[in-house]
């Protein structure tokens, strides 16, 4: 789960990580007010869930409250990589002496948290990793003891020769690690972390992602969510026990299991078709789940065929068939349905489909399913 910079700043403050003064605004008027109360030049920053805001013109400097009003008017409502800007952060501008990167993520290889620091701040860390990997310093943390002060200080020395500064940044790293573990973050990042001309240390940008698996114990995160229209549908599907992601093609898929669902998309593409979605109905799928899946898929206008690819393990083919028959009898479905049922109770499932009298294209393998679906999707004049 992603949160905005202005929300992440609040977590930073709570953990005593220094941030510049500023506030969030959803209108140019409010932006002007914030600028007035800061009383100094400010930076107006678009709050959207994508990187590269600066390059897209979503981050601008303003010297006066009037200028802040104008800049905020341009940025609010702006489209950045398909996302509309609804809020801006108005923060005091600072004169920068040096920029660094500080971050904590989970290292899947060592199965431990890893602290990363780099003197090449202000650039995306992935870019630094590609271009100048020698400028990234990493420390894998033993989760039994956590980050130790001397380890944090050592990382500080990688960034600053001045022992005072190294020590201070070590302290910030200790706080960032604690934030990471306690808030169940999957990423906590300060980029850039700056030393100002006045020698002050400040987090200029703040980014936190949370681990979706931990959300059950953080009900308070719910109100931090800001979802796009597509994400809202994904969220709705999730509440119904489905895992759904919208894609651009015309072949809708209903599959049990995430790996098989991905492979289904791949096989469609392999034979020259385009999947309209990723959809995993999960394990012990009851008929209701199938109906919900049909409901979500048929909302998409570009879907010209729906392919059920089911390999029954815990999932029972008869449950899938019952759900499908019920859905087709109760919903208006104007596209052809291709069904491949294999595994647990497949005979029963096929019998149910046959006895329903509905027109269903039955196939027995994945390749056959893909080819038949592509054929039906490209058939002219029939919908």
């Amino acid at each position: 789960m992603k949160i905005h910079e202005y929300q992440a700043r609040e977590f930073f403050k709570k953990y005593g990580i220094p941030v510049s003064s500023g506030e969030v605004a959803d209108s140019p008027d409010k932006a002007r007010q914030i600028s007035e109360s800061i009383g100094k030049p400010v930076v107006v920053k678009a709050q959207v869930h994508v990187g590269g805001r600066g390059k897209a013109g979503g981050v601008k400097l303003a010297k006066t409250p009037e200028e802040t009003y104008k800049v905020a008017s341009t940025i609010l409502g702006m489209d950045i990589k398909g996302l509309k800007v609804k809020k801006v952060l108005v923060a005091q501008a600072v004169r920068i002496e040096s920029e660094a990167y500080l971050g904590v993520v989970v290292d899947r290889r060592s199965k431990r948290p890893v602290i990363m620091v780099s003197p090449a701040g202000g650039v995306e860390i992935e870019e630094v990793a590609r271009e100048t990997p020698e400028k990234i310093f990493k420390l894998i943390v033993d989760p039994a003891y956590g980050l130790l002060p001397h380890q944090a200080r050592d990382l500080g020395y990688k960034l600053y020769r001045n022992p005072g500064l190294a020590s201070k940044v070590g302290d910030v790293l200790m706080r960032l690690y604690r934030l990471f573990m306690e808030t169940d973050a999957s990423l906590a990042e300060i980029n850039p972390f700056v030393v100002t001309k006045q020698g002050e240390l400040l987090a200029i940008d703040s980014k936190i992602n949370f681990d979706d698996n931990s959300l059950f114990r953080h009900p308070d995160y719910e109100e931090l969510k800001d979802l796009t229209e597509d994400e809202k549908v994904e969220e709705e599907a999730k509440k119904k026990g489905l895992s759904f992601i919208k894609l651009e093609g015309d072949i809708g898929c209903v599959v049990n299991g995430a790996g098989l669902a991905m492979a289904t998309m791949d096989v469609i593409k392999y034979f020259g078709g385009e999947p309209a979605n990723f959809l995993d109905v999960g394990g012990s799928s009851n008929p209701e789940k199938v109906m919900n899946a049909m409901d979500i898929i048929t909302r998409e206008e570009n879907v010209r065929v729906i392919w059920f690819n089911i390999f029954g393990g815990i999932t029972r083919c008869d449950d899938i068939a019952t759900g499908l028959v019920t859905a087709l009898k109760n919903m208006e479905v104007n596209v052809p349905i291709v069904v491949r049922l294999t595994g647990t109770n497949e005979e029963e499932g096929r019998r149910l489909l046959k006895e329903s009298g509905l027109t269903i294209h039955s196939v027995s393998t994945m390749s056959e399913g893909a080819k038949r679906s592509i054929g039906l999707a490209h058939r002219k004049g029939e919908r």
Binding site: R109, D184, D211, F216, I245, G259, M265, G313
Partner: protein, 289 residues
């Protein structure tokens, strides 16, 4: 011979009184797995499908000699179930549960490594050594005793591919679903190490997917060790959009890393033949065996 589970397995089912726990305890027992005990705190003294239920794993170990555990406990309680099993002398833990918080898993893995315990999963379908034992939820019907070791990050995709291996007449020595989470106890390399010395296993099928660098690390391992047995594979997610979690918590392309393209290239460079579609696995096995 098989790896991880077999005739010596003495299984305890944690969460045996739940819906999934009782259903699969019965199926594993019917398959011939030596299911010696179940555990649900507070329900000790009961029995499920003729299997005695205890209040703690420790009791199951002391009274029934359990050495392997399978966990069907809901996500918010299963981290403690893992600690409990590791603390009670269990040697192999299979965690089926999906949705365990990552930071909990990080600490738990640190703990079980200290104890020398092996963890499979979480978020996995478990293990089967056809004809010997099943510790998991895999549909036994599609498996046949044979010579191919199977390791997979997925569940149903494993079944799909196994059905082609079985139809091809190769059969499986042991098939393991290692789990779809970002942090898992056992990885491809750990399984390749086990299969290396298993006389029954003549070739290995790896089923990978987008996200992380486990596939790339495996390619390096195979090159460096001049791995002695043929390895073929499939990678799911060639068409997955970046930045989206594809059902599995670990299946995500982030910052341009973890793509199917990169993984396929790494495998091919290491001499692992990669199938374009699942059914091609059968042809690849015919080529290498």
């Amino acid at each position: 011979m098989s790896v991880l589970v077999g005739e010596d397995t003495r299984l305890v089912v944690q969460g045996i009184t739940g819906r999934d726990g009782s259903f699969h305890a019965k199926r594993m027992k019917e398959y011939g797995t030596n299911v010696v005990a179940g555990v649900t705190p507070g329900k000790g003294g009961q029995s499920v499908e003729g299997i005695p239920v205890f209040n703690s794993v420790k009791e199951a170990v002391e009274k029934e000699g359990a050495n392997t555990s399978i966990i069907f406990v809901p996500a918010r309680f299963s981290i403690d179930a893992i600690y409990e099993a590791a603390d009670s002398g269990i040697e192999i833990i299979v965690a089926i549960t999906e949705g365990i918080p990552v930071n909990d898993m990080i600490r738990a893995i640190r703990f079980i490594n200290d104890k020398g315990v092996k963890l499979i999963g979480p978020n996995c379908p478990g293990i089967i050594s056809p004809g010997e034992a099943k510790v998991g939820i895999l549909p036994e019907k599609i498996f046949e005793k044979g010579k191919v070791g199977v390791v997979s990050r997925s569940g149903t995709l494993t079944y799909e591919i196994v059905s082609h291996i079985t139809e091809g007449g190769f059969g499986e020595s042991t098939a393991v679903g290692i789990g779809g989470d970002p942090i898992i106890g056992t990885k491809f390399i750990d399984m390749l190490e086990l299969f290396k010395d298993d006389v029954q296993t003549e070739a290995i099928v790896l089923i990978g997917e987008i996200g992380g660098s486990d596939e790339e690390d495996t390619a390096e391992y195979i090159k460096e060790t001049h791995y002695p047995k043929p390895v073929v594979g499939f990678i799911a997610g060639r068409t997955a959009p970046p930045g989206k979690r594809m059902g599995h918590a670990g299946a995500i392309i982030s910052g341009g890393a973890g793509t199917a393209k990169g993984k396929i290239k790494a495998w091919e460079n290491a001499g692992i033949k990669v199938a374009s579609i699942p059914e091609e696995i059968r042809d690849l096995l015919t080529e290498v065996l």
